[in-house]
């Protein structure tokens, strides 16, 4: 590996005498050296040598056997999101590896650090259509930050350490290492672990340019109506404190993307709510009213911006991002502040004038009042008998006091969970943002619990998404994973149904979905649970769930045709957000 540049000092530091080990043992030794304690995976023919070696590592590496490789990778994603560490996955060749693809795409678009190790057929069989052979490296190229096929055991130490370095540095992302079976078996002289800290062709973060920090500060200081929008970059950069100081010093109202949620406590006075298609009223409308828009660690996703040519045209735009390719990708920037926001935010904060914008903040409050009248009241204090998703979330907040990790799946309930979820601390919201992967919730909740074992983990999942990965109830059973599962059941694929209602004249084409008896299903896995149909039983049921020691499934029947509002219809500007 000529691209691995390691200084002599580092080699000295780890100058162990070499030992003759198999490639598989080297894989596990590198994992241990990289401080990996948890691996999610599923064995199979081509990865058997690694699993055989794993048998001797029970004290060092905890392996969680999922029920499907997709479950493994989503669990690893949940683990990475709550712990801030690299999630590690083992899967076999062929179908094992192809089952990872959805999770890789999800991790790629949501910048989640993963190292996936897949077994591959013997090197001499590559290209022969051998049993369980697929071209994994090429299949996964578009959905990995980096990938590599190892055919010789001597490559394992340098490639694996490089994989970890690439996965976690800069803008994080998934890395896949495919190891042929012969390399797993092959014995070689393992010279010990040498950390990777530099790759010649790879710049994890661009250098900070002072001139642009100064220009950004000038724009913010002169602004009358500044508005901050932030994303997961704040969390990935571990810059929550720096971010809070930044907005507090200059009194800047801040709204979040769904992956930025929980980077700033939801009850912070400057937290004005959620951006985007199902975000809050004020942050969307006022995006087109502010004079300086400061984007921090977010990528102007189309679900956030709505129609681009009507997005914040009146505003000067400052974009802080670690990934140079994000600048100007969707929205033209006035001042590009390239760099890690952990470094750029304090530099910027130093140059800001202490200020507050009472009138400007009052505008957000005004819109919040309108949203309360039309939306919140309908969601949280409904007049009908039917339960709403909003009131379930509201009661959950009340009971957890905003201290739980909420893992959501994808769809209506996800938007409700994010809109109403209360969070006091960072890394508390786990959801599939960019890819919108139904079925993400249950396995991600398992991983989230392993990533933050001391915290309460609540998975909020729809009846549709739950049925995509419900086999992971088996993983919960076997490992006694303490996750609480709330199924918000509207007996529909609700988000698509909502669109069909609004835009397709109620032609409910294949969105009417039947479900099994979820409580009985959980029972089959020895997971207790109950089903709630009435309002007066909801709070006690939630309490019972939270008080239960261990996994619990609570199914809540909610109104079949409730809609999520506000909504920015596709193709509309953020200012054209609808309240009903």
């Amino acid at each position: 590996m000529e691209t691995l540049e390691i200084t002599k000092e580092e080699k000295k530091l780890t100058s162990k005498t070499s030992t003759n080990v198999s490639g598989s043992v080297a894989v596990l030794e590198i994992l241990v050296a990289e401080k990996v304690k948890t691996v999610f995976g599923y064995p199979g023919g081509a990865i058997m040598p690694i699993y055989d070696a794993l048998y001797d590592y029970p004290d060092k590496i905890e392996h969680i056997l999922t029920r499907h490789e997709q479950g493994s990778i989503h669990a690893a994603q949940g683990f990475a999101r709550t712990s801030g560490e690299v999630g590690v996955v083992f899967a076999t060749s062929g179908p094992g590896a192809t089952n990872l693809v959805t999770g890789l795409a999800d991790a790629m678009i949501d910048s989640t650090p993963l190292v996936c190790i897949t077994g591959q057929v013997f090197a001499h069989l590559l290209g022969t259509d051998a049993f369980q052979e697929t071209d994994v490296v090429n299949i996964t190229t578009p959905v990995t930050k980096w990938n590599y096929q190892i055919t010789d055991a001597t490559e394992i130490p340098s490639v694996l350490t490089k994989a970890f370095y690439i996965a976690r540095s800069g803008r994080p992302g998934p890395v896949l290492i495919d190891i042929t079976k012969n390399a797993q078996i092959q014995k070689f002289d393992f010279e010990g672990y040498v950390p990777c800290k530099h790759v010649r062709s790879y710049r994890p973060k661009p250098n900070v340019r002072k001139v642009y920090i100064e220009e950004a500060a000038k724009l913010i200081n002169e602004a009358k109506k500044p508005f901050v929008i932030f994303g997961q970059g704040v969390i990935l950069g571990e810059a929550e404190k720096e971010f809070k100081e930044f907005i507090e010093k200059a009194g800047l109202p801040a709204a979040w993307t769904i992956l930025g949620l929980s980077a700033l406590p939801t009850d912070h006075p400057l937290n004005v709510g959620m951006l985007g298609m199902h975000g809050n009223y004020g942050p969307n409308v006022l995006t087109n009213d502010c004079d300086v828009l400061i984007a921090v660690g977010m990528r102007f996703d189309d679900r956030v911006t709505g129609r681009l040519d009507k997005y914040a045209k009146q505003a000067k735009i400052i974009h802080l991002d670690i990934d140079p390719s994000e600048i100007d990708k969707n929205v033209k920037t006035t001042v590009p502040v390239w760099g890690d926001c952990k470094e750029t935010l304090p530099l910027l904060t130093d140059l800001l004038t202490r200020k507050s914008y009472p009138e400007w903040l009052a505008k957000f409050e005004e819109y919040k009042q309108k949203e309360t009248e039309v939306c919140f009241n309908k969601d949280l204090r409904p007049s009908s008998e039917k339960l709403t998703m909003g009131e379930v979330m509201n009661l959950l907040n009340e009971l957890t006091e905003g201290n739980a990790i909420i893992v959501s799946d994808v769809g209506q309930h996800q938007m409700v969970a994010c809109r109403y979820g209360k969070f006091n601390q960072t890394r508390s919201n786990v959801t599939s943002g960019g890819l919108g992967t139904m079925g993400f919730g249950l396995p991600a909740a398992i991983g989230a619990k392993y990533g933050a074992p001391e915290r309460e983990v609540i998975a909020v999942i729809g009846d549709g998404g739950f049925q995509m990965t419900l086999q992971e109830l088996g993983t919960i059973m076997q490992n006694n994973v303490d996750v609480k599962i709330v199924i918000l059941n509207n007996e529909f694929l609700g988000m698509v149904r909502q669109w069909q209602e609004l835009f397709n004249e109620r032609r409910y084409s294949f969105t009417d979905i039947q479900s099994p008896d979820f409580v009985a299903l959980a029972g089959a896995y020895h997971i207790p649970g109950q089903k709630v149909l009435e309002r007066n039983k909801l709070k006690n049921a939630l309490k019972e769930m939270l008080d239960h020691d261990g996994a619990y499934l609570l199914e809540v029947m909610v109104g079949r045709e409730h809609n999520v509002f506000p909504m920015v219809p596709q193709g509309c500007s953020v200012a054209e957000i609808r309240l009903s």
Binding site: T141, N147, N330
Partner: protein
């Protein structure tokens, strides 16, 4: 190398016209990097006119020349996506005015017809062509130059039953480039100097930045 002012209109949908650009990419010599680069184009349904990979002036570092027709807005985004790849050291884009470039073409014609009917000496002279093979049944000409030049020889040979034609990808030298040796040294440092950082034009005010 490319320091044209950025169009400041606040639109993600450029209206300006397309033109031919040559992208130069310096990469590590890794299996799979060709795929990583080519899918950046195919994902966006952008056709690659031609692509050449070769060694560069620096041992161990590969050089790609990719020719596509697009707007500058799009090219800039593509180049940034290319440079984002872990095994890519640097990517540049240039208009035809900013590079010296050549393409080579081979033409196979029936020897009897060409000898009998064409004024071969004139062909060779007029089109700067060379004869690289003469057999009883066929003759192979070669010419090197810009697209128009190689196209002209096709037109001239067509009446004489052109059997086969092939043109190589473009190879291009950037006029202003000082080569990659010093850059590679910078890349090898933990703390590279200003030379290799991605935002190398950030200092130039009006230009905001380009790659």
């Amino acid at each position: 190398m490319n320091s044209k002012p950025t169009n400041m209109s606040n639109s993600a949908f450029p209206v300006s016209g397309k033109q031919e650009y040559t992208i130069t990419v310096y990469t590590e010599n890794q299996i799979g990097i060709l795929n990583r680069i080519s899918i950046i184009f195919s994902r966006r349904k952008i056709n690659i006119h031609n692509l050449n990979t070769s060694p560069s002036e620096v041992p161990g570092i590969h050089r790609f020349n990719i020719v596509i027709e697009e707007t500058e807005e799009v090219i800039k985004k593509l180049v940034r996506q290319i440079e984002k790849q872990v095994d890519v050291l640097k990517a540049y884009y240039n208009t035809n005015e900013e590079i010296i470039w050549q393409e080579m073409a081979l033409y196979k014609v029936p020897t009897d017809i060409i000898v009998e009917k064409a004024k071969v000496e004139r062909l060779l002279h007029q089109f700067g062509a060379r004869v690289v093979a003469i057999r009883k049944d066929y003759t192979v000409f070669e010419t090197t130059g810009h697209r128009e030049e190689t196209d002209k020889l096709i037109a001239a040979l067509e009446p004489y039953s052109l059997i086969e034609f092939v043109r190589s990808a473009r190879v291009a030298i950037i006029k202003e480039s000082e080569g990659f040796h010093s850059k590679v040294k910078e890349f090898e440092k933990r703390q590279p100097g200003e030379e290799v950082i991605e935002n190398e034009f950030l200092d130039k005010k009006e230009e905001v930045f380009t790659m």
